[in-house]
Symmetry: C2
Subunit: 328 residues, 2 copies
DNA sequence: CTGAAAGCGCTTACAG
DNA sequence: CTGAAAGCGCTTACAG
């Protein structure tokens, strides 16, 4: 492999000078510069970023920790991150916890050892060990999706989105509204979206029926099963169901269709996420667009700002938009 | 930051010894080992992988070059790659060309400068500059999706998948079959899938009608527009349409639905990709499953084999499966 | 405008 | 079983 020393020898200069033309800093005479550039091109010399990084303590790499890469939300976010980051000549080092929490911590340390310049975590939970690991890492760090204490966080407005959606159902005349949520160890999706639902029911003094409140696991199948549970007790059927993710809403729709329910006449359905699926399923699903890609872009921009100059830790709330489909 | 020197001092040994316990190689007395391990834990010392990589010429990082991250195919593949690679303690450095070809070459060089141990390219085209850049990089390298000369390649069986699908349409009594393809500078999707279609028509001596052969750009919208073009000349309507991707097939279905066509009675539709959408759209779409995630896993395994011991360049063909939906 | 020298944090023959 | 020394390929004060 050719190194900076080889180039220096070939150009009859010191490697200091070569370094200067490579990085475009410091004074170098036009003549020498040209000579070096020519040799670099001829040899196809590629500088070693490991060496550079060891020396400068900067890697030009941003670590991203995902709960699962192959979900639409994650890939939209990564796409947004990448777009911003690539423009600034950073690359993404990708890690996927596959929903294993201990890996979040493991990967933070790993990314640290790789000297990434900053980390973006698509968080799914909050715990003390996580917080302290982040603090110890002492790196530019942003949490997307959960509000982590003492960490710059960008969150979706889960409470209001869920409340707005429930409200929309009420405005369409529904008084019996079922709910498909996820476990509450996920503060954003599990707790806030549920609270938005419950508070809205209370506000209108609507019935909160235990068997109408089910817990899924984000998957289409769990939406299907949850819907089955809601319907099981057919002495009291709801007229609408709100699932906290599109996937679960789609699963619910499928069960309803199988059982001969007409959507939205026999049962209205709503989800969250604005998935491609929500748009192309029949009837189209009423949902909430969280602008995941934009959220990724914003996160990346904030992280890069933080890398370039230390900033205060801040909290941001991402906006959202209701999309009225034919399922309501 | 604590370094190996700090640990050595604290443990009253040389850094050589610390390195030995960290990497678990060479002889170290039990007593010394324990002392060092304890100090490492107490200090939370994290070794610098940049330094290690500079010295050992291995980074533990695999570069992945994608045409677009936020497509279902890409995210499935990456998920498969990651699963295999993470188990072997490699990480993924992700780059996204956003369909800009010159970036494929740029990113190969970039990944090289970052000393990745190997590269996986989800290729979309073939050109000499690309081939020569790969050769010059002289790294373990695998192309997924296109058969690149002199490069280990894993390809989907585009020709036979397209032929089988067309064949299925013929078996369902269709004699007038339209086609929505993509540009032919993509050898796999643009050429092979089209050839599978055309050859099957020829085999059965079915009419090849120019206006029935449209070219889209992978998007749902382009499927919609292509279908519109096919229908425009309503003196001669086909009875079936085969789109080379699910997205374009979905777009076609949407236009058909708008125009009052019943699927599959007035028009049968088929795609390729086994997208989530294909399963949940109504009617469900007849398609081909390419097992993208498995392809990713296989690619990763091959690359790791290649990294661990130099191997011959080889060619692999990924298997596939027809999925008969209600759209045919 | 240019170069010699130190140093980033590791690993690895080599010697004992 | 352990350590001193060299070296991976860069950058950066410092000096001239």
């Amino acid at each position: 492999m050719t190194t900076i020393n080889d180039i220096a020898k070939m150009a009859n200069v010191s490697r200091t000078t070569v370094s200067r033309v490579l990085n475009n800093n410091g004074y170098v005479s036009e003549e020498v510069r040209k000579r070096i550039v020519k040799i670099v091109e001829e040899t196809g010399y590629i500088p070693s970023l490991s060496a550079k990084s060891l020396r400068t303590k900067k890697s030009g790499v941003i670590g991203v920790i995902l709960p699962r890469i192959n979900t639409e939300t994650a890939s939209r976010v990564v796409s947004g991150i990448n777009e911003v980051v690539a423009k600034e000549n950073f690359q993404i080092l990708l890690t996927d916890t596959e929903l294993d929490r201990s890996k979040e911590i493991e990967y933070i340390k790993l990314l640290q050892s790789r000297h990434v310049d900053g980390i973006i975590l698509l968080a799914t939970n909050i715990n003390n060990k996580l917080i302290s690991t982040i603090k110890d890492a002492n790196l530019p760090f942003i949490s997307l999706g959960q509000d982590l204490p003492d960490v710059t966080s960008i969150v979706y407005d889960d409470y209001h989105a869920a409340a707005d959606l429930t409200n929309m159902l009420v405005n369409h005349g529904h008084k019996k509204i079922a709910f498909i949520g996820v476990k509450e160890d996920d503060p954003s999706v599990g707790q806030l979206r549920k609270k938005g639902y419950l508070d809205t029911l209370s506000k209108y003094e609507l019935p909160i029926v235990e068997s109408w409140i089910q817990t899924g696991d984000f998957s289409i199948e769990s939406g299907y099963e949850s819907m089955k549970n809601i319907i099981k007790d057919n002495r009291q059927l709801p007229t609408a169901v709100f699932a906290v993710t599109d996937s679960m809403a789609i699963g619910a729709m499928e069960y309803l269709r199988e059982q001969g329910f007409k959507i939205p006449n026999d049962m209205a359905v709503a989800g969250i996420g604005a998935s491609t699926l929500s748009k192309h399923v029949t009837p189209s699903l009423t949902t909430v667009d969280y602008f995941n890609k934009e959220a990724g872009e914003k996160t990346a921009r904030l992280l890069i700002d933080q890398i370039k100059k230390k900033k205060e830790k801040e909290k941001y709330i991402q906006n959202y938009r209701l999309i009225k489909g034919d399922s309501v």
